[in-house]
Symmetry: C2
Subunit: 566 residues, 2 copies
């Protein structure tokens, strides 16, 4: 297309609220525009990249015999009541009523709808397995939309759902999708890792997240260089420290610790390391008070806490000072010994820690030589976050930590939806059984962001050829020079006829302005038609390498094709 | 793809609520499934047809330099307040609040959003004209969803918006879109007519609808075979009957007409034709009472009535008997003479009708020899529907009437949105002017329905090749016969490699069942591999013509290609 006709509103400056590179560059390169918080409009260049990502996804999924369908965004309340999620899903779900006061939501996800469709149409084992997917807008009323397309309220997602006879079938479907996703993210030229993940609100028996490695990612990934173990921090396990497990239990003592309430203060006061303390955190979950006890040097993982008590993050609040006094304790001096009317969750590591310190539930006092089982009891659960340096749960080597953008996730749902929604089939013996399901998501708009995060430099986006909005941009240095302009048009037509996606920058602007725009919008190849056109020579620049070479016009197609086929 | 793996749930019976062929066949052929009233899910065959229609639309629009973007379905109230439509749009608009109680709607259309985008990015005459479009789900909470995909609450629409410097530019953009639409509907093999249309709630200065001719269409089209005048009945004009215009006005009389209240009764009683009467209809529009007076043989066109008083259909109700008494009249005997507290709208034809009958506003009495101007006054407006046989407003020949499905509409919006929303540009002299807009819609899911309405027979759908979900279906008569099945697979692979979209019906079913399904889902070509395979002979059936011929395997590709290229 001719640049003068294209709707590509490039900007010199980034918007004030843009904190990360992809957000800044998507605005500056005219890919998207913000409408209201967390809601975007996609402009022509943005659409072209999205369509390329979608095509890659479709090709890889179709290879695995997945079939595309398209479901409505409007979903009736009744289906979500069947699955039990209407009340579970909190404020993130956008709800509405129609003119007859019937309740609907705007689909944040589609397990209920797909299960409902398959339940009605598939009755026999002979029709299984089946894998259906769609690419569609999803709606989640995020508390704090941010980071451009990384956290929005309306976004494009590819979601797939597999239906199998049994777990063995699910394993195969799951692996198929895992492999397809690996290909998709490879083809998008992302540096990614698949990591063990928590199943969260979706539920099920197992999950992996596909993480695009990036400093701006909101997820922490723990991984082992030695054995390839990798997990999202929400899920990551680690080898417990059992160093003190064999020690003798000493009699416990009350110690006077006036005005020393934080782990840092008390550790300084007593000259003992953080890991000799058990830290108490008090939460309120729907009017119930919960004390979570973990080693002083660790952090509570809120997802693990939720899993331990069967709730979701939205319902978990920190307790108030009043709450703490009501359970017979004292803010700053909380501990598990002697407390009443409270559920105590004990991180599993404390079972092996001997003679630790805790708060004394009394102003200015702590306890020394506290031991689980002898001095207090509680439910042993997994609460602590893994951290860089913790030992790999598989091989014991220290793990590393990196940040990632979650671009995809695959889940083994099992019968979580098929059982309550009665999505059954008749097996070979005529017995009715629930189908065994998997579900698989790719954040299409997130993938777009992640690609830019990994493929940009100080001058703009550097599109991988596989998803570039156009392959080539032709820049005549001076459009008023007829020879230059005519030759540029000739090359443009020649490339177009050879199936190359090409822009001709026919604007009457200084060459510098046009070069800057070409770099900003990240077109992989630039052909500059300038003064040497009389000698049939043009400049060939590759955006990624930054290399510029002079080539003869009759070799342009060869150079371009070589780059496209890479 | 292999039929055994495909999710194509065909049905022998139509659902009970399906009244029209496209609805029945879309369900029976497994293209769509209903979720709740007016909300559908599209299954794999449906998606494939939709994608083909979308591709045709994109190709034709791109040729006119329109550029694809994608806007959010979530639209903030504020933009609709700028245009003044937030309060105008009635219950059809689906409204919702986010977690911060901010109000949104689900876009029923996108004039506001596109105007807002362009207003922010385009500032100079040098950047005009521009034409942007999207293909996206729209939401309208229809009072009575019905007819399958013809009237739904969530549907796929292509909407385009053009921005020009002036009316001349708009004329060009409008013509471009008109031409593109003509190509689109031709390529979809629709029998269609472009007709003059009312601009309705969208507003503007001119409009055409693209109507697919069909018995089940909800629109009436008036057209002239002589001069090609064609218009939607809501808009259609006709030459007024001025036969009695020159008659002398007789003195008016009160006549006794006990128990004769309808036009039919009074016409019988007096032995006078319907057209000698003026019929009074009383409406209530937001507490205001309106009397509409038209000739006895005509019907009030509610759109023309709305246009005459500047309101929308949703606010127009029939008055109650009580309302009628309150304005000093009597149900069954209403007339314009002597009424108070009522706005009288007089159809323009009555200006030329002399000595007509009306109700006497008194039980059991009518008036004779009533004349407009002498006996009563009122606002002369256009109220009457045109009907078959009325004279063409251009050439005076009698018009015909047909029914059509509205598949597209183009509007000259002028400055209806750009003025209130301040979507301005600087002209050559630096003066700020509002852009002159057009908007252009195609109902993608409606087009799908219309194609089926026009292309089906008693056995199922008969897809035009341009939008068929697959080109060819290969049916081995007996899949257990290895020779048949292997040859079928060979042909399948050969066609696939040649870019033909092909299904292999590998199901272990009777041939009759497979033939029935092939007909039902409407694949344009069927290749049957049966007993003559030993002689290298297969059966080649064309769905549309119903013709079956025996051909040699080595001529299959030629036959198929010939049909695809037609």
């Amino acid at each position: 297309m001719y640049m003068s006709k294209m709707f590509v509103p490039t900007l010199r400056e980034s918007p004030n609220d843009a904190e990360i590179a992809s957000h800044k560059l998507m605005i500056r390169a005219g890919l998207v525009r913000n409408l209201v918080s967390g809601v975007y409009n996609y402009l022509p260049l943005g659409i072209r990249v999205l369509e390329k990502i979608k095509t890659i996804i479709r090709e890889e999924l179709d290879k695995k015999s997945a079939q595309e369908i398209l479901c409505s965004a409007l979903q009736p309340k009744e289906l979500w009541e069947e699955s039990g999620r209407w009340s579970d899903y909190g404020q993130e779900m956008i709800r509405l009523k129609d003119r007859n006061d019937r309740e609907f939501c705007l689909g944040p996800t589609h397990e209920e709808i797909f299960t409902n469709i398959v339940k009605k149409e598939i009755t026999s084992y002979r029709q299984l397995p089946i894998n259906l997917y769609q690419i569609q807008s999803k709606y989640r009323d995020e508390r704090r939309p941010r980071f451009g397309l990384l956290r929005t309220r309306e976004f494009i997602m590819k979601d797939a759902y597999s239906f199998d006879k049994d777990e063995l079938g699910l394993d195969k479907s799951y692996k198929d999708m895992y492999d397809a996703y690996s290909k998709v993210f490879d083809r998008c030229e992302l540096d990614w890792k698949a990591v063990l993940a928590d199943t969260g609100a979706v539920g099920g028996t197992g999950s992996h997240q596909f993480m695009a490695i990036s400093e701006v990612g909101e997820s922490d990934i723990l991984y082992c260089m030695e054995c390839n173990y990798a997990a999202d921090r929400e899920k990551a396990d680690f080898m417990l420290d059992k160093t003190s497990a064999g020690e003798q239990q000493n009699p416990y003592e009350k110690i006077y610790t006036p005005n020393n309430t934080t782990i840092e203060e008390i550790s300084n006061l007593l000259g003992e390391p953080y890991y000799k303390f058990a830290k108490s955190l008090v939460f309120k979950v729907k009017d119930k008070i919960i004390l979570a006890l973990i080693r002083g040097d660790r952090e509570v993982n809120i997802i693990k806490l939720c899993n331990a008590i069967g709730t979701i993050e939205e319902y978990v609040q920190m307790a108030t000072e009043e709450d703490i006094r009501r359970i017979g304790s004292e803010p700053g001096y909380i501990g598990p010994v002697g407390l009443k009317n409270v559920e105590i969750l004990v991180d599993r590591e404390l079972e092996y820690l001997k003679n630790f310190y805790t708060g004394g539930n009394e102003k200015d006092y702590h306890l020394k030589n506290v031991n689980y089982g002898r001095d207090f009891t509680g439910k042993i659960v997994e609460l602590a976050n893994a951290s860089a340096g913790d030992k790999c749960p598989k091989c014991g080597k220290p793990m590393k930590m990196e940040k990632g953008i979650e671009v995809g996730q695959v889940f083994k749902l099992g019968t979580k939806y098929s059982k309550p929604m009665e999505c059954n089939y008749l097996d070979e013996n005529g017995a009715s059984k629930p189908m065994v399901m998997g579900c698989y998501g790719i954040g299409v708009t997130r993938t777009l962001s992640a690609i830019i995060e990994q493929h940009h430099d100080e001058n703009g986006i550097v599109w991988p050829i596989s998803v570039a909005p156009y392959h080539v941009i032709i820049v005549p240095v001076n459009v008023k020079d007829e020879t230059q302009f005519n030759k540029a048009k000739e090359i443009y037509e020649m490339l177009k006829q050879n199936g190359i996606e090409v822009i001709l920058d026919d604007r009457d602007e200084r060459a510098g302005v046009k070069f800057k725009d070409a770099d900003l919008i990240g077109i992989p190849m630039r052909i500059t038609v300038g003064k040497k056109i009389g000698e049939e020579i043009v400049e060939f620049k590759r955006r990624k390498e930054g290399s510029i070479e002079e080539i003869y016009i009759d070799s342009v197609l060869m150079h371009v094709k070589k780059c496209v086929s890479q």
